[in-house]
Symmetry: C2
Subunit: 431 residues, 2 copies
């Protein structure tokens, strides 16, 4: 058995122990973690300085991108925010032991469906070392074991954050619940361990997510693509439509819930569309044209209708009606988040019913698709998979359930027969 196998095996056992700690115990570990991040801020920030210095050299040598290096940086303020976030997770309701269903399917049998931890999660994250305490907090809250694999660009920061958080929870949580995987070769091995690992959660670029999905049979929770649409209907409020298009693109263009394609009903060809183009251009958004749009305007063609810019760029396309808009989204979208702007309740209803995405909105910016904005209190990620958890995922996405039933001797076949105590005679025959 390899070291990693052993770690996963120990982690599974620790998760089973964590599952029946009380909520108060798990919350105590969380509050201790939050305090420790502040108490040890100096050593955390010094370790982070080392990573930053190495990253600076790597950027200078052209071996690391500037944004990747920038995401490494921790500050005292960031540690305070992290600690506050962990205290908020502690304050949330217990995700374990929730009774999802209870019934008496047969007289005298009490059946219940109760939430339990999933088991062993492998979380693979790039750059941002602040992901480590966040994910650890989610795991402690939900009783799951973790195999954490961070990027080597954050090696020192991850190590110290791991040591500090481990020390903080060790009095309460079972040993071996959280593992930091530091060897560079481990990733491939990790992704092959489909018997030991229950769920992989990648935190990073689309490329990372896609690479992981292609390499593993373990379920992956995440999204490789966020090709979101705004459809501006014939009956849209023109002012609202302009504002939603701008917000959905310019508020945070690299976010997965930023709009990538704006579909405009033919009706708006003319002053409204001109104004949209004008406002987008003023906001430094590059406009690319879909096939219908290309006939009418001089914008360069979109690279593809299935395209994620993740930047200040957008595809504009004209559609003749609602059906075409829905068809376009279901064909070229990524099932992440799509919105209609319309004053027609009928049109909105049809759009909400027929667009087959995880989040479908009416008169709301696509940027609303987010676990915190949905009121979940914590966000594990956004999933474009269709099973288990879909769309923004809160703590609920890190639990599964078990059926527990209590009875009084229930048999499926023939009824109880008197076979005890045995008669002396038959006992004698045995010997």
């Amino acid at each position: 058995m390899t070291q990693l196998n052993q770690a996963a095996k120990d982690a599974k056992q620790a998760s089973r122990q964590a599952a029946h700690l009380s909520h108060e115990q798990r919350c105590r570990a969380l509050r201790s973690m939050a305090r420790a991040l502040i108490a040890h801020k100096d050593i955390i920030l010094s370790a982070n300085e080392v990573d930053l210095a190495i990253a600076k050299e790597a950027v200078a040598a052209g071996e690391m991108s500037e944004p990747l290096a920038a995401r490494l940086k921790l500050t005292e303020q960031r540690l305070i925010e992290l600690a506050d976030g962990i205290k908020q997770i502690a304050a949330m309701d217990d995700p374990l032991g929730k009774v999802l269903m209870s019934s008496e399917p047969q007289p005298g049998i009490h059946l219940s469906k109760v939430t339990v931890p999933i088991g062993v999660l492998a979380v693979i994250f790039e750059s941002r070392p602040d992901a480590l305490p966040q994910i650890t907090a989610l795991a402690v809250k939900t009783g799951n074991a973790l195999l954490l694999k961070g990027g080597r660009e954050a090696a020192k920061s991850n190590r110290i954050l791991f040591d500090v958080t481990q020390k903080a929870i060790e009095d309460v949580m079972p040993a071996h619940l959280i593992h930091l995987i530091e060897s560079r070769e481990a990733m491939g091995e990790l992704l092959k361990m489909d018997d030991e690992i229950d769920l992989v959660i990648p935190r990073g670029s689309s490329e990372l997510v896609r690479a992981i999905q292609q390499q593993t049979k373990i379920p992956v929770m995440g999204h490789a693509e966020g090709i979101c649409h705004v459809y501006v209907d014939e009956h849209a409020d023109p002012q609202m439509a302009l504002n939603i298009c701008l917000d959905a693109k310019t508020n945070y263009p690299a976010a997965c819930n930023a709009v990538e394609t704006i579909l405009v009903h033919d009706h708006h060809h003319g002053p409204w569309l001109d104004q949209l183009c004008d406002e987008l251009t003023t906001s430094n958004v590059s406009i690319y044209a879909g096939p219908n749009m290309a006939l009418k305007k001089g914008f360069p063609p979109a690279p593809s209708l299935h395209w994620e810019y993740s930047d200040l760029a957008v595809t504009l396309e004209l559609v003749p009606n609602l059906d075409h808009a829905i068809e376009h989204i279901n064909t070229y979208g990524s099932g992440h988040t799509d919105t209609i702007v319309t004053e027609s309740e009928d049109r909105a209803h049809e759009f909400l019913q027929k667009v087959d995405s995880a989040s479908v909105f009416h008169n709301i910016s696509t940027r609303f698709a987010d676990g915190f904005r949905y009121g979940f209190g914590a966000e594990v990620g956004i999933s474009t998979g269709r099973l288990h958890a879909r769309g923004p995922v809160g703590l609920d996405g890190l639990v599964t359930y078990a059926y527990r039933a209590k009875g009084h001797g229930y048999l499926v076949g023939k009824k109880h027969k008197k076979i005890w105590p045995v008669r002396a005679a038959s006992l004698m025959q045995l010997f």
Copy 2:
């Protein structure tokens, strides 16, 4: 694009159409299917005769096992039962459009989480042709598209059942919702289509399930193993314990929820254990001994503690206490179904909390783990996976959810600004 790709693409689109048919429309299709099975019983049974004749030759030539051939057989009675089952599915509540959650996370935003079909299911089944109308009925009820891949031993029966059921639903359900895949080579291709197929459901032997799990990255709903345990605690009612052990093994030994290992507390070594062995032997159950048991009795050793007999055979093992029983089950079990027999509420509570299986029982035969017995009205299968659906799976396991939100121009970033109607001057600048 291959034929199979095209079928999956058409199926996906059909599922999206099926998703917004009314429940009444889907039920009408189901009732029509139920009637058609009876109306066309003669041609169905004749086609079945052809398969049976071929199977008979294959058995004689030693190319097919007798039980496999036996499972092929349809009768008028079986068709009546199938039709009744389909009418029962029609009578159940609509699994689609259920509001799982609704909230107002921001003033004026109404967010709801609503059940929708999963999309495209590939169902791979062996022998039993009656699986075809059953699965078709589950798909029609839940608005899912199906790629059906039956075994070639039931080719004629499957074809006629497919034709009859398709004809019955075609007036209501979208075309291309259900596909019968008949080419022998298709299986490998099917299992590679992880972009097109959302879920694979194998219906057949453990070997089939295991082979499919090993070949695909598509989520698989099912169980390859059912290594279920009965733990007879120190404080068990001896009469109840004997009856539960016997029922769990002998009621249907090939079922996945039959017991494979009986763990007996050391306390019962003596007359009770002798009586258990006697009763098992009387019921033609072969007894194999675990390591602790082997020291005390003359039974042959169990092939492994992780062993599924699926037959009239069982492993007996002695354990010194509850902790050892729980540890044994979590180590050697398959997470399917395990039960404790005890009169102690404390022991029962600990067992229910700590055994990490999909179904955990107190004083109930393992054979109770079944969708119908759980009161689900229909059973898709039993899952030993930990994500999405676990344990006996009802119609709920064939749906996922989407978030739908309605607002009045919600933006994440800066508030609405007045950019419409545009002033004539700024419009002029555009041209």
